[in-house]
């Protein structure tokens, strides 16, 4: 007998539980005065011995049950020497049920042809052969089938909107190679159109699966394929009331195609463009959709744009591409820069660079002296940046507090000097996220990456790009050791421990303390190449138009930046999946994690303002006809290693050793033991 998951045998150590319970438990006796003890004594001796026997029996039964459960989980295989040593075939049939197989080739689809071929192969197989059927896209697998069962299983398969995934199949093959009865022949047959992504997976196999024989059948259109697909789309931007989208259209067939590309979105006028493609040509077509004068960015932040080719060809599934366009509510960010003198020069330069970088949004920057700042100016801004901790307050701190809770962001830079009383007051009133207490003057370096990836108001993508500038090489002359309340998060640290960036969310906004100067007086950060990226990270995500389209194998994640802040504060959002089923999505920071898509189509949040995510086929999923026999043979040679059944060590030349799983027998034994245990226990109570 051998075990496939022997580590579960360690679970048998749990028998120590009942054994200890048996040893430690003491029965509780009720004391009763009595007279005729002489008639009890002999019976009592008998009773105690019987009771001990029963206790022991129950203990043994319980130990046996636990041990057998552990053995069951370890998946035992019984080895049995078969007489005559007749060789048996274990045929693993992998069938491609991906969407590309729905290509209509004449009157039938490639999939139907594949099923027919698979059935023929099964029928031709030896009578005693056992089959394992794998569906590569739906990842279904059924083992140990006889011929009739295998035929029935193959006929049950259907095309699913997904790509072939070989990882499970190859893993199952390796497992089968380990557990197959010695002397049996492990044969593999793969039937597929071998689309580029499938071939790529075969080529990238690191550990080839040992088999005795492998073969494949390339299922391809009988003549030159006629298939054009929309393989991608990219939002260029929103210029005025026009949405520009670049659409990639590919002719994957061998004949020239003339098609019409149609861009549609509910309540918007559709856009059309004629596309003429030579065989194997790929072209990018810019589609311009008129958003109309009445289009409201705040009411419809997410636009589902469907890009489709007309008329449909032989493979309709890749003729449509779904692109969700998230249009920001505002195109301008207003920054109020509060300064003492000219120390904000580098920061202003960085803002200017940021303003030029983004084509879709602008930065409106106003600069005001610290002693002249007013409540009105604060209320005008989206972001207020203090070049240092204020030395005096000419406005009410309550205004700052209201500004933050209303959705604004206040950024304080630190200097070596400052009014500690004012700072403490700001800290107490929740405007300052951390209170600088002691200045440490030593050279230190920020960490390469932020401590936390997800934080409302800060862009993870910008943080990743900022880390490319290697902040850990930029020296800073010193920093404040701060008192940090529980609600404040340290987003970025110095290498030796103190925080570089503290953020405290309050209401819909946040307050930020940057533990270094806005100029170069405290270090080289402001003069480094990372400064612009750092300022971009501080200000948060720019108001770009974003797009969300995913392939069926991906887990969709939407950025909520630019959507309503009230929506960002929710933890769970109801969503509708592609198949129309209702489910829930999780929000972490400003990211919305959607569940795994079910099919092709739209996933959208349910609520006043819906956010869409388009689910499409992987780009090269329907690139049929590109594979050749040489390519496939080469790829499969890398994926499989051929061995001979008789070459195994310690095996009789003609004997066949069958390994039979005995979990069913074990399960029944466990059930019987459980019943027996309950019977004995109840008898004990009687």
């Amino acid at each position: 007998m051998s075990f496939l998951q022997w580590t579960f045998l360690l679970g048998a150590l749990a028998v120590a539980g009942p054994v200890l319970a048996h040893l430690l438990s003491k029965p509780r006796f009720r004391r009763v005065p009595f007279t005729m003890l002489r008639f009890l004594r002999s019976g009592q001796r008998e009773s105690q011995s019987r009771r001990k026997l029963r206790d022991l029996l129950v203990l043994l039964l319980r130990c046996a049950i636990i041990t057998l459960i552990a053995v069951l989980f370890a998946r035992p295989m019984l080895h049995r020497q078969e007489r005559g040593g007749e060789q048996r075939s274990l045929i693993h049939v992998a069938l491609d049920d991906s969407m590309s197989m729905s290509y209509r080739d004449g009157s039938r689809t490639l999939f139907a042809r594949m099923i027919e071929a698979a059935c023929d192969r099964v029928r031709r197989a030896p009578e005693k052969a056992r089959f394992s059927i794998y569906a590569l896209a739906s990842r279904r697998s059924i083992d140990g089938l006889n011929k009739q069962q295998a035929l029935a299983e193959i006929k049950r398969l259907a095309v699913v909107p997904a790509s072939a995934d070989l990882a499970d199949f190859l893993s199952a093959l390796r497992q089968a190679g380990r557990t197959a009865p010695a002397g049996d022949r492990l044969r593999v047959c793969i039937m597929s159109d071998f689309a580029p992504n499938a071939l790529r997976q075969f080529e990238q196999v690191l550990q080839p699966a040992p088999v005795h024989e492998w073969t494949y059948e390339l299922i391809q259109p009988s003549d030159a394929a006629e298939n054009t697909a929309v393989t991608g789309a990219r939002v260029v931007g929103v210029a005025g009331s026009t949405l520009d989208v670049d659409v990639t259209v590919s002719n994957r067939g061998g004949t020239a195609q003339e098609r019409t590309l149609v861009a549609q979105s509910p309540d918007l006028k559709e856009a059309r463009a004629d596309v003429a493609l030579a065989p194997k040509e790929q072209r990018v077509v810019r589609m311009q959709m008129d958003l109309g004068r009445t289009f409201s960015r705040s009411e419809r932040p997410s636009l589902p744009v469907e890009l489709s080719l007309a008329p449909a060809d032989r493979l309709a599934a890749d003729d449509t591409y779904r692109l969700a366009v998230h249009v920001p509510a505002a195109t301008s960010t207003r920054v109020l820069l509060v300064r003492k003198a000219q120390e904000t020069f580098l920061f202003e330069t960085a803002l200017e660079a940021l303003g030029q970088k983004s084509s879709a949004s602008t930065l409106d920057v106003r600069t005001v002296a610290e002693d002249r700042v007013t409540s009105g100016q604060i209320n005008w801004a989206d972001i207020v940046v203090f070049s240092c901790l204020p030395a005096e307050l000419r406005y009410r701190t309550r205004d700052l507090e209201t500004f933050i809770t209303g959705g604004g962001k206040v950024i304080f830079f630190a200097t070596t000097i400052g009014n500690s009383k004012i700072a403490e007051r700001l800290w107490r009133e929740g405007v300052l996220p951390a209170l600088p207490e002691r200045w440490v003057e030593e050279t230190m370096y920020p960490q390469a990456r932020p401590c936390t990836r997800m934080c409302p108001g800060f862009d993870d993508r910008t943080a990743r790009s900022l880390s490319n500038y290697r902040p850990d090489k930029i020296a800073v002359r010193g920093c404040w050791l701060c008192r940090v309340p529980a609600e404040t998060r340290c987003l970025w640290r110095f290498n030796n421990g103190p925080g570089l960036l503290y953020s405290k969310p309050a209401g819909l906004g946040s307050a930020v303390l940057v533990n270094t100067s806005i100029d170069d007086s405290l270090g080289l950060l402001a003069k480094s190449s990372a400064w612009v990226a750092f300022c971009s990270y501080l200000l948060g995500e720019d108001q770009e138009t974003r797009q969300f389209s995913f392939s069926t194998g991906e887990r969709p994640v939407l950025s909520l930046a630019g959507s309503s802040r009230a929506q960002q504060r929710l933890a769970v959002v109801p969503v509708e999946n592609c198949d129309g089923g209702k489910t829930r999505a999780r929000i972490e920071g400003d990211r919305l994690f959607l569940p795994a898509p079910k099919g092709l189509g739209w996933m959208k949040t349910l609520g006043a303002t819906a956010l869409y995510a388009g689910i499409n086929l992987p780009a090269d999923e329907t690139d049929i006809g590109s594979a050749t026999s040489e390519l496939v043979t080469d790829a499969l040679t890398r994926a499989f290693v051929t061995t001979e059944p008789s070459s195994r060590e310690g095996e009789p030349a003609r004997a066949s050793l069958e390994r039979k799983p005995i979990w069913k027998t074990l399960a029944w034994v466990i059930i019987l033991l459980v019943l027996l245990e309950s019977t004995v226990t109840s008898r004990l109570k009687r």
């Binding site: 009720r30 009763v32 009595f34 019976g43 009592q44």
Partner: protein, 299 residues
């Protein structure tokens, strides 16, 4: 004691007993007339017949009226009926304090029985004695036939308290040696002593021509062992402890108790001793009446 003196003389209960006649199997000598037939003739108050006078007969028995009428000397003979002396031996050892479930203590049950029997005997004019014992005789009320003697017995019953171990055989030998007159010995006990010793003690009494009746008082739980769960049984006299699981030993226990009762019955039957097993869960009057009916049938 659970009740007062009046409790033992409950009129309904007594009215049931009053209709019954307890007839001694053997005639014993007595001082008063009663229902018991006497083997002794000549000293009596009831006329039997006449016979001719022979020289040597006492002159005081000559019927002078017949001599005046017939001129013949005749002696008057009497058929005498006497009372019997009843000794009630009541076991008040600690084991008699047992009460299982809702039943009364065995000693209470036995006391009710002793009181009822005393009343019955005294109503018949028999001399009644009460002996309460455990390892030895603790209380002894000598025999008397006065109606007022009942109060003495009932008071003794009322004041009795349980205690001590059973030494039934020793007590029976003591009673056999100290009783001056033959009579009826009523033993009320749970017989929880060595069975051979008990048998020998009772045989001693029978040897002295006593008529012996044994009322074997047992609790329902002693007969059935109707307990549940894990029990530590503690002996009321020896304080020995036995841990048992009654459910599993019940049948064996009942079998052994049955064998014990059969042995008792057989041993007493061999010695021509009447035996009546009483269950404290059963009504006392019903048990008594059942016994008395059986007794009359024997007579």
């Amino acid at each position: 004691m659970a009740g007062t003196t009046r409790d033992y003389l409950d009129p309904i209960f007594l009215s049931k007993l009053a209709n019954m006649e307890l007839v001694a199997r053997c005639a014993v000598e007595g001082f008063f007339s009663g229902l018991h037939p006497s083997p002794f003739q000549g000293f009596s108050v009831e006329y039997s017949d006449h016979r001719e006078y022979y020289p040597g007969d006492e002159v005081k028995f000559v019927d002078w009226k017949i001599f005046a009428r017939t001129d013949r000397l005749c002696i008057k003979r009497f058929h005498q009926e006497t009372n019997t002396c009843v000794y009630i031996l009541l076991d008040v050892s600690k084991s008699m304090a047992f009460a299982g479930g809702q039943a009364v203590r065995k000693v209470d049950y036995a006391s009710f029985l002793a009181a009822a029997l005393s009343y019955l005997m005294l109503k018949q004019g028999d001399s009644t004695a009460l002996v309460q014992f455990a390892e030895r005789i603790r209380t002894q009320i000598p025999p008397a036939s006065k109606r007022t003697h009942l109060n003495a017995i009932l008071t003794a019953l009322q004041r009795s308290s349980v205690g001590g171990r059973t030494n039934l055989a020793g007590v029976l030998h003591t009673v056999a040696e100290t009783t001056k007159r033959r009579g009826l010995i009523i033993l009320i006990s749970d017989l929880l002593d060595d069975q051979g010793d008990i048998s020998r003690g009772l045989a001693h009494l029978k040897f002295l021509k006593h008529d012996v009746i044994v009322f074997h008082v047992l609790d329902h739980q002693e007969l059935e062992l109707d307990y549940e769960g894990l029990i530590e049984f503690e002996d009321m006299e020896s304080k020995d402890k036995v841990r048992a699981f009654p459910q599993s030993i019940r049948s064996g226990y009942q079998q052994r108790v049955g064998e014990f009762l059969d042995d008792v019955r057989k041993t007493l039957g061999k010695n021509d001793i009447d035996y009546c097993q009483l269950d404290t869960s059963e009504p006392l009057d019903r048990a008594l009446i059942a016994y008395l009916v059986k007794r009359r049938r024997l007579m």
